[in-house]
Subunit: 163 residues, 2 copies
């Protein structure tokens, strides 16, 4: 995710909310040796459908082939590739860190407009929701304090509003 | 996700960040006919590993079998089942709605401590990061205005801080 040498693409795939659909989508990338950097899937309004945001590490040419093959999968409704200029991208991270320097941590939380969730037993839990590079930066700034556990949601992307 | 008849379990799976791992994990659920309700996967601090929060719709007994089989998968490091009482759960949603009643929408955004991202061309984009039931409730409250597009991150879960 932070590797500047890789080319990351964001795909939005709408699928039917059925057992096995996610496995088939992920399997298609796997068979071609492409690593999924992050993936977020959840039902949409009508819970018979789900929307997946996939960030994948690929070159452009084979990505076109993957998109063609995705279209052929049963239960896949449509696929859109969203470039950073057409998309609004956000990510969520919840992180537990050692809280020895609690005043510094609280200041950092404020600086990043993050949310202080809890602190107890020498640990603090903080949540941040922002654009992915900002989440990455927050994680980097927290590293020196000692990260106990973290989960990032993976990037989620929507179309930018029309002009 | 909002279906009260189903039994939803939250699993946290740590895996090596390699092509095909996600497909194998998702495939294991698919082969047994279990639907993955939501899944969020992203690299952790050391980017050679990823952490997956999976919400799956199952009965307890077969879940134990799935966990046993997950343990046997190559590149899977460990699996924890987190009950709501042991976990802090959060979810992110970005949603685009029709903005005909913009004052009402802004009031609703404030009420839910959500973030107003943009409004243009008769549409508004709003982001919310909260506990999953609250995100669900916000989505329900926005429905009457007309949802254009939405993506939820799926639930992410961390261990509650020790007492």
């Amino acid at each position: 995710m932070s590797n500047g040498n890789h080319q990351l693409h964001t795909l939005v795939v709408r699928v039917e909310n059925k057992a096995g659909v996610l496995a088939r989508v992920a399997g298609l990338f796997a068979r071609r040796g492409f690593n999924i950097d992050s993936l977020a899937v959840a039902p949409v309004v009508d819970e018979s459908f789900s929307r997946i945001t996939i960030v994948v590490d690929v070159e452009s040419a084979p990505l076109e082939q993957i998109v063609k093959q995705l279209h052929k999968l049963v239960n896949v409704l449509d696929i859109v590739e969203l470039s950073p200029t057409e998309a609004v991208e956000r990510e969520l991270m919840v992180i537990t860190v050692r809280s020895d320097a609690i005043d510094e941590l609280k200041a950092l939380t404020q600086e990043f407009h993050a949310t202080w969730l809890d602190d107890r037993s020498g640990q603090a839990m903080i949540s941040i929701s922002s654009f992915p590079a900002r989440v990455e930066e927050f994680e980097e700034r927290l590293k020196p304090y000692g990260i106990v556990e973290l989960q990032r949601s993976g990037k989620i992307a929507l179309h930018r509003l029309p002009d």
